[in-house]
Symmetry: C2
């Protein structure tokens, strides 16, 4: 399952992209327009800022805007920042690998092989930029 956090993050980035004429946009505004709990959103935005997907400015006319070319922001990136691995089991994760400690030999584990293939296919679909997502 995609977490609400991740879904909110994707919606937020899409929102910033599609409202680039009025950026920076305050968290409060995004929160109201996208129906995301304000404090929860702030927390998500902090993660996105830490990972330099978003940049912020303070003060009365402050808010958030994209920190880079929307063509360079992908859905996989956002999912990894917010939820961690895209893979369904950690032993086939590209960015968050962990041994499962169950199988004798990773190289011959059939479940691993299947979910390795699955992860590849998933990344193939999810490696879309925000621009591409916007045009779907």
């Amino acid at each position: 399952m995609l977490s609400k956090r991740a879904k909110y993050a994707i919606k937020t980035i899409l929102f910033l992209f599609e409202n680039k004429d009025i950026v920076p946009v305050s968290a409060k505004y995004i929160s109201e327009k996208e129906n995301i709990p304000y404090k929860f959103l702030e927390n998500i935005l902090r993660d996105l800022r830490t990972h330099q997907v978003v940049k912020s400015t303070r003060g009365p006319v402050g808010g958030y805007s994209l920190a880079k070319d929307p063509n360079d922001i992908t859905v996989t990136q956002l999912m990894r920042i917010i939820d961690g691995p895209v893979a369904l089991i950690p032993c086939v994760s590209e960015k968050f690998y962990e041994a499962c400690g169950e199988c004798e030999d990773e190289e011959t584990c059939r479940i691993r092989k299947l979910f390795f293939e699955l992860r590849s296919e998933m990344v193939g679909v999810l490696n879309k930029s925000i621009v591409e997502l916007s045009n779907l």
Copy 2:
């Protein structure tokens, strides 16, 4: 993430298939061989029996065996029995559809479109039978 329950279920079915010469196999035996907590496994087996993936016989020489042709048991089936939807968001689930209640219009929701495509690809990979899984 794939739950442990689902992973245990897949391992159990694979085990029953690959040990068809000694079936029925007791839950205790599977539990020991596959390192699955006994009572937890019983619970999983109950679900699998309810869904007629597995059949059981009681008494001292009893145990579990596959209830149908292993070519007709797929990984998606097992995941759906144990974890529910394969889809990462409920509004694109084939078998467990639920409205998200967030977007104005499902037909035009871009996130939905993306995760619909994702689910299709996932099912494409996961619709492998136990026989195919065994041969990976």
